[in-house]
């Protein structure tokens, strides 16, 4: 289950997520909307992971956290209606909440503990004050350190820190220092994102105006150093941007990359469930109105055909270091155009972009840096008519 909490104190320059400023009415509408939307969903099987993303879920007041937590808990397969965590579903393996350093307080952490959250993901982005400013982020290094201390003291099972590299003006030395600073805090998990210029962000505007320059070679090098350094520090890469100490990979995200099912609640949240994929409208008021009419997953709605699922299992599966099990996929989707896929696999392997071992296909480091190009090739090969 994914819950999109669409509130942020201000908008970061690189951000393309749906978010809005938190007003009392807005939060109230959001919470009751989530409750109504959860009622619309069929829950044919127990929820194994929960993820609250945003936005900034950590902006919710402790009481609202408890309220939202209770709404969620009612869907976890338990029947009891009284908090706290004794009615946690035995199937629930992981409950992640994203926090921004500026809003981490002991009271909020206590509320999160109380509802059963197991994993905290905190958006640090950089340990360099100047770069934080450049990103339009609203927190200081001091806040980061204090927040991390509080989270650790509260005792969550797993903690992730988000970092960003290839920031405008960032040197390689500065990025290495960021990695070192993050590693020194010994989180269980690290996400290291190459800055992306998303359309409709302030950064995009700067890029189009020529004020910020793209440097692909530099980005590629930073990716490579990141992977090497984190591996050296005991964080195994398991996806393009994700690294974990043993046993700490994010189960929720792994499930989506494996093309399992998930229910997304809240404005802009995407779901993949019951043979359909789609997203809610990215507008708090309109989302509520639609939920009130019983309508969800109204945007980008597609039926999940075997061909689509196979294609996505490959495209998104290959982003993971473990790659995909071709034999299993072949078994599951026997009617796909396997001959063209096999030819592509052959080419990828010949050129050192992928490795094929006992039916598992995974990308080499060079291949992983080209995962999008590989994805586009996969799509293209899937376009080919099935040869008889």
């Amino acid at each position: 289950m994914y819950v999109h909490v669409p509130f942020c104190a201000s908008t970061c320059d690189f951000c393309a997520f749906y978010q809005t400023s938190p007003t009392a009415d807005g939060v109230e509408g959001f919470l009751s909307g989530i409750e109504e939307e959860a009622n619309l969903v069929e829950w044919p099987r127990p929820v194994t992971t929960v993820f609250w993303g945003g936005g900034t879920p950590g902006l919710l007041a402790p009481t609202d956290i408890i309220r939202l937590g209770a709404i969620i808990q009612r869907r976890l397969g338990s029947v009891s209606a009284t908090p706290p965590s004794e009615f946690r579903s035995p199937q629930l393996l992981e409950w992640t909440v994203e926090l921004a350093p500026a809003s981490v307080t002991d009271a909020r952490l206590a509320a999160l503990k109380e509802i059963g959250v197991t994993r905290i993901s905190m958006g640090v982005q950089s340990f360099q004050p100047a770069l934080l400013d450049a990103l339009g982020r609203q927190h200081t290094l001091d806040q980061v350190m204090r927040a991390y201390g509080r989270i650790r003291t509260a005792g969550f099972a797993s903690v992730n820190l988000d970092l960003m590299f290839a920031l405008p003006g960032q040197t390689e030395a500065e990025w290495n220092a960021d990695i070192d600073a993050a590693v020194a805090l010994a989180p269980d998990h690290l996400s290291a994102y190459c800055l992306t210029f998303e359309e409709d962000t302030k950064l995009w505007v700067k890029l189009s105006a020529g004020r910020v320059k793209l440097d692909v070679e530099n980005e590629a090098q930073l990716y490579e150093t990141t992977w090497a350094r984190l591996a050296g520090a005991g964080y195994a890469q398991y996806e393009v941007s994700n690294f974990a100490r043993p046993g700490h990979a994010c189960r929720h995200n792994l499930a989506t990359w494996h093309m399992h099912e998930w229910v997304g609640l809240g404005p802009s949240a995407a779901s993949q469930q019951g043979g359909l994929r789609g997203a809610n409208i990215a507008d708090l008021v309109e989302w509520r109105a639609r939920v009130a009419r019983g309508a969800r997953m109204t945007e980008d709605r597609v039926a999940l055909t075997p061909a689509l699922l196979l294609e996505d299992s490959l495209i998104f599966g290959l982003r993971m270091n473990a790659g995909v099990d071709l034999n299993a996929l072949r078994h599951r989707y026997p009617d796909a155009p396997w001959s063209t896929v096999d030819a592509l696999v052959q080419r990828l392997a010949e050129d050192g972009l992928a490795l094929l071992e006992t039916g598992r296909l995974r990308l080499s480091d060079r291949g992983r840096l080209l995962a999008d190009a590989v994805g586009a090739e996969i799509m293209e090969s899937m376009d080919e008519p099935v040869s008889a």
Partner: protein, 597 residues
Amino acid sequence: MDVSLTRNFCIIAHVDHGKTTLSDRLLEHTNTVQQRVMTDQHLDSMDLEKERGITIKSHPVTMTYPAKDGRLYKLNLADTPGHVDFSYEVSRSLAACEGAVLLIDAAQGVEAQTVANAHLATAQNLKIIPVINKIDLPSANLELCMKQLEDILMIPAEEAILASGKAGIGIVDILEAVVKRIPPPRWSEHPHTRALVFDSLYDSYRGVITYARVFSGAIKAGDQIVLMSTNQKADVKEVGIFTPKMQKVDVLSAGDVGYVVSNIKDTSEIKTGDTLTLSRNPATVMLPGYKEVRPMVFCGLYPLESNDYEKLKAALGRLRLNDAAFLYQSESSVALGFGFRCGFLGLLHMEIIQERIRREHDVEIISTYPSVVYRVKQHGHEEIEVDNPVNLPDPGTIDYISEPTIKAAIHIPNEAMGDILSLVMEKRGTVEHTDTLDTTRVMLTCVMPLNEILVDFNDRLKSITHGYGSMDYELGAYQPSDLVKMDILINADPVDAFASIVHRDKAEGKGRALCEKLAEIIPPQMFKVAIQAAIGGKIIARDNVKEMRKDVTSKCYGGDISRKRKLLDKQKEGKKKMKQIGKVSIPPDAFIQVLKN
């Protein structure tokens, strides 16, 4: 209207001497185009013309002008292109006129196409009105222009009108000169209706629209016309004039320039230069037509998507209708499938046609490396023509290959002489003679292989002479030459579309340049790609296409899947816009890019 009150004239000049800008002023002064809808270079109506600031097609327009003699004249103007590749357009326009306004840029003086176009007008017995234009420029040199007019063009200097299209100077003088100096329409007394077809275009609603200059008689809706070269008959549905938009009129009479819409649907039925007459009381003698133009440069054009073949074929038919200098016939390529061999007057012409196919006809195409027409003699056989390197016979069977040359008139400032002589040498040319144009300028008459001047000759001429050099040329004789076929290999496989015929001494340099340029133009690829140039199996140059370094989205979670798919889809479609040759995606305009410097 009385035919004696009609004047037909065109504006001719070297490239950029201000023809279209001056036309703007004439349109304004005669209130032909209202201020409200007037645009700069108004007659350059094609997007491509506007974007590039050059005229590609001749554009006819009818104006009325109340002259100082108190009478109202009908003036049919044609603005013509200045670029050497489109000189055929100029000669067609001239054939529909009795006079020509010859512009000379006051800062540039007489240049190569000034001379060439003046000769074309004289050859058709047209009255020339010399106009020294752009006199508003600080660098204008009127004295020199006057002198060049007399010395080079043999036109008395006192005939010259001083003007500026930009500043609107001399406009009335020009209009008055057109009325007074240019004779009224010729051959208007001929007993039968005769009209010269000088252009046509295909309109998807109305079919073929024929542009015609009526010399005698009249044509109106309801008439049955005959195309004299084929005896094909057609019913006239509408006639009209250009204002410059098409405007329906009741009748086109002697001296008029306008359009004829008939029930001709097939673009191949109409030929530029043909004579129209009426089926009742038909003429027996055709108007002098045009001499056939021979394309000088050929390349293969192929649809990017093989099922666009028919669409491309239709597009070529329509373009040919609108451009008699362009030829095509079907051919096939191992790398590119089924397509067409197309002939052009030069590289600019080739580039423009390719753009028009893409834009006006919405077919994505890829072109092969261009070639001139070689003559090849094999032992015991007749000479054959080869315009596609793929068709070059086995070198062992060849007696000789000869290549086309051009005879070029190159106008340059004296001080550039040394550098231009080395340029001509480098291009395997010889200078036949040198003429002094005036105290500052000379004209070199050179013979050069056509394939050497196609690519960068003009650019180099311009840069050596700081813009003051110019060149005109016509096709010369064939000469035997030591020519070889150069193959381009992609990952060791020869690609027929890339083959070219080159002079042996230049093969290595050209091979290296071509590999390097292709490696630069082909976007970075996921897979390793080597590009090699080879002659008879021997590799003479090689390069590698850049390898893609990074193409990965960093954030990709459940909520990003749909958006991500859309992006990948776009990426995939982008690739489809390229031609897959083996493992490599080649941009369709690769060769146009290679040829540009």
